[in-house]
């Protein structure tokens, strides 16, 4: 009995003791929350960066939360609206206007992130995060597009090296397409997923420009791709499915799945896809820069930025800014490149010879030189514009001109709403 009582006393003592120690630590400790979407390599990289940061800053604890991409935007919006959620949040740069407009994020403090510093050290496209004279977020890494090709299939079709021009790409695609006896597609020459994935970016920033157009006016308030150039670009894109029949939307689910299974000759995607294809067994692929046209090249770049949520205040805001500073340091960028395969957001880290000549990252990094990042008013409906235009041409036999006229009218309404015209 006495033994038991002793045990209980000891037990209680240890509880209170630990509570006491805990409370004395937490008196000046700050815990902040970091949110991103769930993607193996990204989670791993952030965990690594948090560990590094915490050992240098023992008074700051970072809680890392991640969940499937499908619900990402909604959860962030609802959580912040409810006064809950992250202090530091990752957002796709195309959502900036959405997030800013709904008050989900706040400007970065100028004393920690000076504009001169950002503008002289980061890639130009990071200016997409500047609005109303403030920066609203900064990336660790940036992305661009490149052409993935299956070496074995090219060899089998008697082709050497990747296509260098848009016309070449069509010829390659035709040669790489295979059908069975009853005409069913069994191998895609060039895969596109309708307008989804990276296709809509490729259309807007690469094809439209190649055919002499511009997707948007210089002040960013007018949608301008419904002209002759846009129509040519849309025809070029949809011809792969409609006329050349080198692709079929939905073949083996998505282009990336079919490519990973070795059933696609050519496929356009971002550097973040490298890790998936590296894991695909029996897949022998290479990467080249996107094909040019009339001697010029274009590319699309994008990024996920880290931003301070409007919830972060006082000590939490300071801690979040400190962690953001670390996330955008040269060291973090190199860790991110090695773990996730996304390109460093500063030329000084990205454009070193070792990276530029890298067999896998090289083409993407070289592409950054001539890449543009679209300034979206709202990414999802604008993506839907291209998806719908594509479907009208392929599924309903609408002319590219009429299809673009229809979707651009709607997209312009979105712009007018936003800019208050």
């Amino acid at each position: 009995m006495e033994e038991k009582l002793k045990n209980i006393k000891l037990y209680l003592f240890s509880i209170f003791g630990s509570l006491f120690i805990f409370s004395s630590i937490s008196a000046n400790a700050v815990e902040i929350e970091y949110w991103q979407y769930e993607y193996g390599a990204r989670v791993e990289a952030i965990d690594k960066l948090i560990a590094n940061f915490q050992s240098a800053n023992p008074d700051i604890t970072i809680k890392h939360t991640y969940f499937p991409y499908a619900d990402y935007r909604k959860k962030v919006a609802i959580a912040v609206a409810a006064g809950d959620g992250p202090d530091l949040v990752q957002l796709y740069y195309g959502w900036l206007n959405d997030y800013r407009d709904t008050g989900l994020i706040q400007p970065l403090p100028k004393d920690v992130f000076s504009h001169d510093d950002i503008e002289s050290n980061f890639f130009k496209m990071v200016s997409a995060m500047k609005a109303d004279g403030d920066y609203w977020g900064l990336p660790t890494a940036v992305r661009s597009l490149a052409l993935f090709y299956n070496n074995d299939l090219l060899k089998e079709a008697g082709l050497s090296g990747p296509p260098e021009t848009l016309d070449d790409m069509v010829n390659y695609a035709k040669k790489l397409t295979k059908r069975d006896g009853s005409g069913n597609l069994i191998q895609e020459g060039m895969a596109f997923d309708g307008g989804i994935g990276q296709t809509h970016h490729f259309f807007r920033e690469v094809l439209v420009r190649h055919f002499g157009g511009k997707p948007f006016s210089d002040d960013g308030q007018k949608v301008t791709y419904n002209d002759a150039a846009g129509a040519k670009a849309l025809k070029y894109l949809t011809d792969f499915e409609k006329t050349h029949k080198t692709t079929q939307n939905g073949f083996m689910n998505r282009g990336q799945d079919a490519f990973a299974a070795g059933k696609v000759g050519l496929y356009i995607d971002g550097s973040f896809r490298i890790s998936k294809f590296k894991k695909a067994e029996g897949l022998n692929f290479s990467i080249s820069e996107l094909p040019g046209h009339n001697g010029t090249r274009y590319n699309f770049s994008s990024f996920w930025a880290n931003a301070l949520s409007s919830k972060a205040e006082g000590a939490k805001k300071d801690a979040a800014a400190k962690f953001l500073k670390y996330l955008t340091s040269d060291e973090a960028m190199q860790i991110w490149l090695d773990t996730v395969g996304e390109l460093p957001a500063k030329p000084s880290v990205a454009l070193v010879d070792e990276n530029k000549q890298h067999p896998l990252y090289g083409p993407f990094i070289r592409g950054l030189d001539y890449a543009t990042a679209t300034t979206f008013v709202s990414e999802k409906p604008q993506r839907q514009s291209i998806v719908d235009a594509y479907d009208m041409v392929v599924l309903q036999d609408v002319s590219p001109e009429d299809a673009l006229a229809k979707v651009v009218k709607k997209e312009q309404e979105l712009f007018d709403d936003f800019f208050g015209n």
């Binding site: 919006a77 609802i78 609206a81 597609l185 989804i196 939307n249 998806v387 599924l395 309903q396």
Partner: protein, 303 residues
């Protein structure tokens, strides 16, 4: 004071107060989680609100914009199509199955369970499986089976014409189990003496079906029509899962009202417009329910 108030009451009054105390729990529950949000939806439908900022009164502007939005009319028509095509098909199939299932004894339980399982399965998981069934060769089962019998591949979900029916099919299939069980219960509730009397009078199978079974099942059928009409008018999971990018495509061909509400609310954060759409859906459901109840009542009066 409370004590004297309580003691002055009659037993009847005391009983009534006690009863109301117990009833208050579900009433409060309903008011806070049902009626209040419904009221709020009506209120927000006259506002411009993005979830975070202040609500701004804009009168009927949300409704006017919805009226002028050509997508809304496509979506409304889709929603109605789900109901007016889905309900008769599913009731016809489930009645036929129930009618024959009721006649057999051997394996009755097993077959009934097989029909009921889809009803218990998560709609999203099932829709994903169906989505794969609809894929082109070499993955999609339906297209593989079509190729066996020499029919050309069908685009299914990738076709503006076929997509709505392709999405409807798993929804019909998932609802069958429930409807069959209700129909069987209805069939079993018909007194045996009716059938015996009919046999003595020399009625044939068809006559029994037309003159006895169908009239006796009228309340069951009306119940199922209302329930499944409401179900189809609120269709969401299947479309969200089966259309590319959850967009209700291709070209809005499969998009129902609920998905449009969801997109406005949680993608574009236009809560006012979304609320206005929920009000429209609410009125549509109310109208359909009242219409069906009224039709049902009329028929009884004639009999």
């Amino acid at each position: 004071m409370f004590r004297s108030f309580w003691e002055n009451l009659t037993i009847k009054q005391k009983l009534a107060i006690t009863a109301w105390l117990f009833l208050a729990i579900p009433i409060i529950f309903y008011i806070t989680i049902r009626f209040y949000p419904t009221y709020e939806a009506f209120y927000v439908s006259f506002m411009k609100w993005n979830l975070l900022g202040a609500k701004k009164y804009i009168g009927f502007k949300n409704y006017i914009r919805i009226w002028g939005d050509e997508d809304f009319w496509i979506v409304l028509w889709n929603t109605i199509k789900y109901a007016i095509i889905g309900v008769p098909i599913s009731l016809l199939i489930s009645f036929t199955v129930a009618y024959y299932l009721n006649e057999i004894r051997f394996g009755h339980q097993t077959i009934r369970a097989l029909y009921f399982i889809p009803f218990l399965t998560t709609a999203v998981a099932m829709a994903w499986v169906w989505r794969w069934f609809y894929q082109p060769m070499p993955i999609g089962y339906f297209n593989i089976m079509l190729s066996w019998i020499g029919i050309p591949q069908q685009p299914f979900l990738r076709s503006v014409e076929q997509a709505l029916y392709s999405v409807m099919a798993p929804a019909v299939w998932a609802g069958l189990g429930f409807q069959i069980v209700i129909f069987i219960a209805g069939l079993r509730a018909i007194p045996k003496s009716h059938f015996e009397a009919a046999e003595i009078d020399g009625a044939g199978r068809l006559q029994i079906l037309r003159e006895i079974i169908l009239p006796a099942l009228k309340p069951t059928t009306i119940f199922l029509i209302i329930i499944s009409t409401i179900g189809f008018l609120r269709i969401f999971d299947q479309v969200y899962t089966m259309s590319e990018d959850s967009a209700g495509g291709p070209l809005n061909a499969t998009k129902p009202l609920v998905l449009m509400i969801y997109d406005f609310a949680f993608d574009e954060f236009k809560l006012g417009r979304a609320s206005a759409l929920t009000v429209i859906l609410f009125l549509l459901l109310l109208f359909v329910s009242i219409l069906q109840l009224w039709l049902a009542r009329n028929r009884y009066a004639k009999k």
